[in-house]
Structure formats: structure tokens, C-alpha cells
């Protein structure tokens, strides 16, 4: 894999973990699905037709050089599979796109905050990914890019159905708004399942990764809107924002209660996480996620002094494709666990004060 390409070499801006409410909200994402009139959706389209979609987008970019000066076209067929996987881990492209690469492209902004997928499930998918709770900012940018695209392209749009998409679950606004949240307080106080199941009843989709027992791995969940038709973009964003604010409040309350009742336990947990991560030689991704979460909670609560930026970076860089890209070769599961432990140890040297 060519190591000099910026999407291979650099870390995405969103990984820095800055932005409003970044102690609880890792990222905010807005994605718009758009299609061109009269051309079949990518999975049914001919090579000529998908080529035309690319040419059309290319023309828009050519007509708006100023707006797209920081963007680069990447052809997926020219990427090695590991490189594609790396892009999936960075959320530049979708997992589906990494699998089906026929005539697909990504138009990527250099800081990786914007990626425009071409010939994915829909002809065009505009994605804006910001660190912290910045739904409004992400929407405004996606909206602006959408307007530029539409100024030169004939979108498939119908007055009643809105933006027409390959999957009827996206039709209407074509918008998917997602938040990635770190909720260790709600997990430790065992409130998480009750709260998440309540969210799923108000039209939100909740996704979490569960490990042994009922614990969410890394205490990270993703929340997104399910409904795209019948609500405006603003309403959808406002709803998710309101839910996020409530969750943040509940999470902070849980953290405060934990701090009052079992301060030593939390400090012990964070200290042990630091100890293991600084010294371990073999670490699975599941274990690493959990330990990083424990450490992060200790840092957020001021119980331990550590640069949280390093934790944020590691959430992405300890994943399989990143490790293999770093080692410049394929690794089996065991080799990855060793490599992961080494990476973490190296990053931790000199970071704990």
C-alpha cells in the first residue's frame, strides 16, 4: 500500500476528539443520499451509466474549483483491499463500498471531514463527520455541498416522496444523522439497557457492541435517526440533539454519583487500565477498547493525568487494517494482538505524568 497518500498517512481531524461535549460525544455525522434522475441505482446500472455518474460529479467539481480545491478523487478499484479496510476504519467509506468497488469513487476532503461517495448504494452520498456534538455544523456543510452538486446535476426528486433513494428506508430527506457516544457512567450504573431501549421507541436506532455478559464493549454506542420521510432535516437534527443533550446529562449525573460514592474504585479502575495498557504484550481489540474506556473515564473525572488525545487516536489505530498498514504486511489475529499491545505501549511512553 502506498504510504504517502494522505488518507493512509494521516489521522482524520475527527479523531482528535475535540469539539463541544467531547467528554461524552466522540463524533457527529450527517449523511445525505442523492441520485440522478432516470439512471438506475448503482447495483443495477451498467458500467456506462455508473461512469456517467462519475463524469457528472467530476464536471461539478471542475465547475466549482474554489469550493473543491481541498478535495481529491480516489478510485476504489485502484485501492488494495487493506487500504479500503483502512478507509472503512476511518469512516471515509462504508463497509459495503469496500466490498463492492465497481466504478465507485470517493471525493475526499484533505482533513477527511467530508467524504463524497460515488456509486455506493446511491449515486451520491455526501458525508460530513465532525468531532464532538456538532450536528448543526455537519448539516450546514452537507447542505451547502448538496446545493453545489444540485446546481449542475438533475437529482431524482419528487414533490411528495422527496429525494428518491435505492432503499426506501432513506427516501424523503435522504438524511442519516448519527452520534457516537461514550457512556461508561450509564453502563457501570446499569442504566444503559433501559435507556437505550427507550430510545428505540422514539424512532431512533441504537447500535452497541456487546461483549461477554451485558457490557457494551468500550462503552460506546451509536445513535441515529430511523425516519427520513415526513420530518424535515431540521426536525430530525433537533430531535437527535435533544436526545443527546438528555443522554449527556444522565451520563454526567451517573459519573458524579459514581465519583461521590466510589471515587477510589474509579481511580483504581483507571490506574489498572493504565498499568495493563502500558505493560501488556498481547491485547485483543475488545480488551483494549474496554481498558481505554476505563482510562478515559478516569481522565474525564480528573482522577488520573493523561493526554486524552492519545486515547482518541488509539480507538481507531488499534483496528486490524491500521495495524497491518503500520506493519506493512498481513497479520493474523494473534500477531495483531501483539502488534496492538506494542503500539499502545509506544504511545503511552512519556504520556502519563
Amino acid at each position: 500500500m502506498a504510504q504517502d497518500k494522505f488518507w493512509v498517512k494521516n489521522l482524520s481531524k475527527w479523531m482528535e476528539g475535540t469539539g463541544p461535549d467531547s467528554e461524552v460525544v466522540l463524533t457527529s455525522r450527517v449523511r445525505l443520499a442523492r441520485n440522478i434522475k432516470n439512471i438506475p441505482f448503482p447495483y443495477l446500472a451498467s458500467d456506462t451509466q455508473t461512469q456517467k455518474i462519475f463524469n457528472d460529479v467530476n464536471r461539478v467539481v471542475g465547475n466549482h474549483k474554489g469550493e473543491f480545491k481541498d478535495f481529491t478523487f480516489i478510485k476504489l478499484e485502484e485501492m488494495e483491499s487493506l487500504e479500503r479496510q483502512l478507509c472503512v476504519e476511518k469512516h471515509i467509506i462504508s463497509p459495503q463500498m469496500a466490498k463492492d468497488v465497481r466504478n465507485s469513487f470517493v471525493l475526499l476532503r484533505n482533513d477527511e471531514a467530508v467524504s463524497i461517495m460515488i456509486n455506493e448504494e446511491d449515486h451520491i452520498r455526501i458525508q460530513c463527520l465532525f468531532p464532538g456534538l456538532q450536528l448543526e455544523g455537519a448539516w450546514n456543510l452537507a447542505d451547502k455541498i448538496d446545493d453545489i452538486m444540485e446546481s449542475d446535476l438533475d437529482y431524482a426528486f419528487n414533490e411528495d416522496r422527496g429525494y428518491l433513494t435505492a432503499c426506501p428506508t432513506n427516501v424523503g430527506t435522504g438524511i442519516r444523522v448519527s452520534l457516537m457516544m461514550h457512556l461508561p457512567g450509564l453502563v457501570i450504573t446499569k442504566q444503559i439497557n433501559r435507556i437505550l431501549s427507550a430510545l428505540s421507541q422514539v424512532g431512533l436506532v441504537v447500535r452497541g457492541l456487546y461483549g461477554e455478559g451485558t457490557e457494551v464493549i468500550g462503552n460506546i454506542v451509536q445513535i441515529s435517526n430511523q425516519i427520513t420521510l415526513g420530518q424535515s432535516e431540521k426536525e430530525i437534527i433537533r430531535n437527535l440533539y435533544a436526545v443527546a443533550k438528555q443522554l449527556i446529562e444522565q451520563e454526567e449525573e451517573a459519573r458524579q454519583n459514581l465519583l461521590n460514592e466510589s471515587r477510589e474504585n474509579l481511580a483504581d479502575r483507571a490506574g489498572r487500565a493504565l498499568g495493563i495498557l502500558s505493560n501488556a504484550r498481547i491485547v485483543s481489540s475488545q480488551e483494549a477498547m474496554q481498558l481505554l474506556s476505563d482510562l478515559r473515564l478516569g481522565v474525564d473525572l480528573g482522577l488520573i493525568d493523561f493526554d486524552s488525545k492519545i486515547i482518541n487516536h488509539l480507538l481507531v489505530t488499534i483496528r486490524p487494517a491500521h495495524l497491518q498498514s503500520m506493519e506493512r504486511k498481513e497479520l493474523d489475529a494473534y500477531e495483531r494482538d501483539v502488534c496492538r499491545a506494542t503500539l499502545i505501549r509506544e504511545k503511552f511512553i512519556g504520556s502519563s505524568k
Binding site: 422527496g162 426506501p168 461483549g211 461477554e212 451509536q222 425516519i227 431540521k234
Partner: protein, 174 residues
């Protein structure tokens, strides 16, 4: 419990997804989970969403029409996709499918979104006529409300705005 994917290793990764309060669970070993990318926190739902509405379709009995002799085939003229194919793959073939599958699709949309009518963004350029139409609708509603509230001055102001908009669209519209 053994991994559902390879049936060899013990399942240590348990994925739970909740949609509409319906839980789906998948149990994988660490290896298969990372291979399947399930550890990557992908943004898009990975559990096939078609399962979700395949269920709805079955429920509606769309695929087993009773009492319809000869079973009429519903097909999109533009891309050739049939409704039966759509309900299997869960993807429409082209934007015309929305027209071609008409009422059947409406009932599905109602189940997924609780609505069949878009109320959000309208494209700037190609949607300018629609935009004006929607704005006029809103203004007329506003005017009726002002009249009902006996705020006649306000109502008259809105009426003038409506007239202006109507004049603009007659003059410059396509």
C-alpha cells in the same frame, strides 16, 4: 456457545441491535467478528435491513395475493425491476420505481416512516417551482389563521405577498 460464522471457535463477541424495540443478536468469535468488520463500529446498519421489511411484506401478504386470477406482475418500465424482486433484495432499481410501485410502496413507507409525504429540503434549482408552491400553501394557511384571529391588517399584508409571488411565477416560471 460456538461462533455462528465458523462454528469452531467460542463466540466471545455478542452483537445486539435494537430497531423499533426489536432485538437481533449475533454471536461471533473474535476472529470472525473482526473479519466481518463487526468490531469496526460501522455507521450504516449492517444487519440486513431487508429482513426488517421482508417481515413487513410478509405481514401484508404482498407476495401471496389471494383471489387475483393470473397474478398481475408489477414491474418498473424504466429499469425492469419487478415488485417481487424488490421485496427480495430490499432495494429499488431506479427513481421511477417509486411511481411504478405506487400504492404498494406507500403502504410500506407508512410502516417504515409513519408518513408518505416529504416535508424537508427542496432542491434549489430544479425544485424552485415546488418551493414557491409550498411557500404559497404556507402563506395561505397563515392568512386564514390571521383572518380567524381577526388580525386583518396582517392578513392583508400576507395577501399582498401571495399576489406578488403568484405574479412572479406566472411571469418567470417555465
Amino acid at each position: 456457545m460456538l461462533c455462528q460464522e465458523c462454528n469452531k471457535m467460542p463466540a466471545t463477541v455478542h452483537l445486539t441491535k435494537i430497531v423499533n424495540d426489536k432485538k437481533t443478536e449475533t454471536h461471533l468469535c473474535q476472529q470472525c467478528a473482526s473479519e466481518k468488520g463487526e468490531l469496526e463500529f460501522a455507521f450504516e446498519p449492517k444487519f440486513p435491513i431487508h429482513h426488517f421489511f421482508a417481515g413487513l411484506l410478509d405481514f401484508d401478504g404482498f407476495e401471496t395475493p389471494v383471489g387475483i386470477p393470473g397474478k398481475t406482475k408489477i414491474q418498473c418500465n424504466n429499469c425492469g425491476l419487478t415488485y417481487a424482486q424488490f421485496s427480495q433484495i430490499g432495494r429499488l432499481g431506479c427513481s421511477d420505481c417509486y411511481e411504478s410501485f405506487g400504492e404498494k410502496l406507500n403502504s410500506l413507507l407508512r410502516r417504515i416512516h409513519g408518513s408518505t409525504r416529504h416535508t424537508g429540503k427542496v432542491p434549489q434549482r430544479s425544485g424552485s417551482a415546488i418551493k414557491v408552491k409550498k411557500e404559497l400553501e404556507q402563506l395561505r394557511k397563515d392568512m386564514q389563521k390571521k383572518i380567524a384571529d381577526e388580525e386583518f391588517e396582517e392578513a392583508a399584508r400576507i395577501r399582498d405577498k401571495i399576489r406578488e409571488l403568484e405574479k412572479d411565477t406566472e411571469g418567470g416560471g417555465e
